[in-house]
């Protein structure tokens, strides 16, 4: 039995003659190590792989300068094989600005977490976007201070339990989360704004396309580009590793809705993305019901 589109099926009637072995490094070319120092279940290495492969695929490796913020992902600074400037917590967008102005032909991106970008450095990313600075800011948003051990950030969702919101984030007491992508998208200097996720294979593929579009935006010199990526942090959320994806999908992902927030000057709010998701889900459900009814005859 063969399925042409799948290629030949392996003969499983006998054990393989040779044991399994690594034939080539399972990593992007722009990573210096196959290892990372993150916790099990962390989503950040998935995002790292995505944007490094985008840079590689677009042929930008020899003109890219990275600017890293401070968080768990700071350990990527040592393993990323790109010219890199390590910035302070919150300050990467202004450092990127100085770099880009002096090296206008370089592709410059920042890598920041939600604590870094939305708490400590909120004004930096907004001003850089408003200026239309031709840089790309990448936000790894897990809704928690992972590195300090699970504390509330400006993007933690209502009801989310952290070490500084023990009974869950309460709007009355802790205030509301910030949907940073919406703030950035409204600014005239922002050319491309998207929110992706890495909680499933499909989400990873979609996020990787967002990285590509962001870097293409910068390459064209269109203005500021921004990709937010929702990343799992089971350690910081105090959930079992295997439940990371589900937890994210059902909590943070329900508020920070995935989708493109600004493309070609057209802004779509997170609320609109949510409505669209609801509408699509209803359509899918209706289509399934119709198909079922047709089958029943």
């Amino acid at each position: 039995m063969t399925k042409d589109h799948l290629g030949p099926i392996l003969d499983a009637s006998a054990p393989p003659a040779e044991g399994a072995r690594v034939v080539e490094p399972q990593k992007p070319a722009l990573l210096l190590s196959e290892q990372h120092h993150m916790c099990p279940g962390c989503g950040e290495p998935l995002a790292l792989r995505g944007y490094l492969e985008a840079i590689e695929d677009l042929g930008l490796a020899e003109r890219t300068i990275a600017v890293a913020g401070i968080g768990c992902y700071t350990s990527f600074s040592a393993s990323t094989d790109l010219d890199l400037v390590q910035a302070l917590h919150g300050r990467a967008p202004s450092v990127a600005t100085g770099i880009k102005r002096m090296r206008p032909d370089a592709i410059v991106y920042t890598l920041q977490g939600d604590g870094d970008m939305v708490n400590e450095g909120l004004q930096e990313v907004l001003h850089t976007a408003a200026r239309g600075e031709r840089v790309t800011c990448i936000l790894l948003n897990n809704g928690v201070f992972g590195e300090t051990g699970g504390h509330m950030t400006a993007t933690s969702v209502l009801g989310q339990r952290t070490k500084t919101s023990l009974d869950g984030r309460d709007a009355e007491y802790h205030g509301h989360p910030i949907l940073i992508g919406d703030l950035v998208a409204r600014l005239d200097g922002a050319a491309y704004v998207a929110r992706g996720s890495v909680h499933s294979a499909g989400a990873v593929a979609r996020t990787n396309r967002m990285f590509r579009r962001a870097f293409e935006t910068q390459t064209r010199g269109d203005g500021f580009s921004f990709v937010e990526v929702l990343t799992m942090c089971p350690t910081g959320w105090f959930v079992p590793t295997a439940e990371g994806q589900t937890y994210m999908d059902e909590t943070i992902g329900e508020v920070h809705i995935v989708g493109e927030l600004k493309v070609d000057g057209v802004v779509r709010t997170t609320a609109e993305l949510h409505e669209e998701n609801v509408r699509r889900a209803a359509e899918t459900r209706a289509a399934k019901e119709r198909a079922l009814a047709a089958k029943r005859g």
Partner: protein
């Protein structure tokens, strides 16, 4: 410009002169946030840098100004930022880390008086960072030292603070913008340009002490040790000081910046009257000319520190004097209603009277205005706390 050609002298505001000197020194990036009396530095950079092929950004905050300068410096460009001491307080976190990242940067402090001495010389920030600090006494020296600042920043890969004030920034003098020549410096092969991606040898500019995987990292502690070991090397080589009338001086006055020029004038007058008084003017506040002050104190009977603050530099004067002579504070808080540091004590007659009182071991004349607002401890503050 050839050394023989005598450059034209032009009447120019101090801010403009410092900016033109910066551009002559190769500065191509400036970012700043308006704040009196620093604002005109930003204005002149905004007006003059684009034509020189550079960029000036009116940053949205001091935090962002220093961040932008950090990024520009990391590309190898000669970069600068600045503010008043208040604005520099906001920048301190970055300035400390820029030192650890070994980035050259020139930082203008057009200070509101002399109350930022500790900030300038004690790093002002967390960690063990030291900034080289140059304090010109007037615009002509400011032009010279601004160029020195850019050279020293690159020479040591360290921030250099140019400590000025309202008078330096806002008065006009006839100055010659002479481009100075310095010994050649090595190429900045550490600077990022984006070209090394994927080579396995990509660059990293970081204050954290770690290198790319596959190369030997200093590590955090190692980086602190490394930065610490640079301090005595700079200290041993970059002391700048001017002295006058020290040979037979019974009394030595130490002063820096604009007020030092007033002190020198007053002492010249007192010398004409036969008073044996001399002066030491630290041109570099860090490294401080401890040796010169110590040598002067070994001959003198008394040393005075004249500063327009509560007495900050006097700590360094005492370290330099090292007990060889009594040290007395003869300055005081003196500012105008706007807080720009041009107060009633910055006046030759007032300064001469204080120097003379020091010289005669008499009581100092009161600081004008000092008794108008005086803290009186309340009874509970006089009680001993167990």
């Amino acid at each position: 410009m050839s050394a023989s050609a005598r450059p034209e002298r032009r009447l120019m505001e101090g801010s403009e002169a410092l900016v033109r000197a910066s551009i002559a020194a190769g500065c191509r990036f400036f970012a700043g946030y308006p704040m009196t009396p620093f604002t005109e530095i930003l204005e002149h950079f905004a007006a003059l840098l684009p034509d020189a092929g550079g960029t000036c950004i009116n940053a949205e905050s001091e935090l962002e100004a220093v961040g932008m300068a950090w990024g520009a410096a990391a590309t190898g460009a000669r970069a600068a930022t600045g503010s008043t001491g208040q604005g520099l307080s906001l920048m301190q976190e970055s300035l400390s880390e820029i030192t650890l990242a070994e980035l050259p940067l020139v930082v203008f402090n057009m200070a509101r008086g002399q109350q930022d001495y500790f900030q300038a010389t004690r790093g002002g920030s967390h960690g063990d960072a030291r900034n080289l600090v140059l304090a010109p006494q007037d615009i002509a020296e400011g032009v010279e030292l601004t160029q020195t600042a850019f050279h020293l920043a690159d020479k040591w890969r360290n921030p250099v603070v140019l400590y000025g004030d309202y008078l330096l920034a806002h008065t006009q003098e006839a100055v010659a913008l002479e481009a100075r020549e310095f010994p050649p410096l090595p190429a900045k092969n550490w600077a990022v340009d984006g070209s090394t991606g994927g080579s396995g040898g990509s660059r990293i500019v970081t204050p954290l002490g770690f290198d790319k995987i596959g190369r030997t990292s200093r590590g955090q502690e190692g980086n602190f040790q490394y930065a610490a070991s640079k301090i005595p090397e700079m200290e041993a080589r970059e002391v700048r000081v001017e002295t006058g009338w020290l040979d037979d001086a019974e009394t030595v006055v130490v002063a820096f910046g604009t007020p030092a020029k007033f002190v020198k004038f007053a002492i010249d007058e007192l010398r004409a009257d036969g008073e044996r008084i001399g002066w030491v003017r630290p041109v570099s506040l860090w490294p401080f000319p401890y040796e010169t002050v110590g040598e002067a104190a070994a001959v003198a009977r008394r040393v005075g520190s004249f500063e327009l603050c509560t007495g900050q530099m006097i700590d360094d004067v005492r370290i330099g004097v090292a007990g060889r002579a009594p040290v007395r504070f003869i300055g005081g808080v003196s500012t105008d209603s706007s807080g720009f540091g041009v107060g009633r004590l910055l006046e030759v007659d007032a300064i001469r009277a204080r120097i003379l009182a020091l010289h005669r071991d008499e009581e100092l004349p009161p600081v004008p205005g000092a008794d108008e607002h005086r803290f009186v401890p309340a009874p509970h503050q006089l009680e001993v706390t167990p």
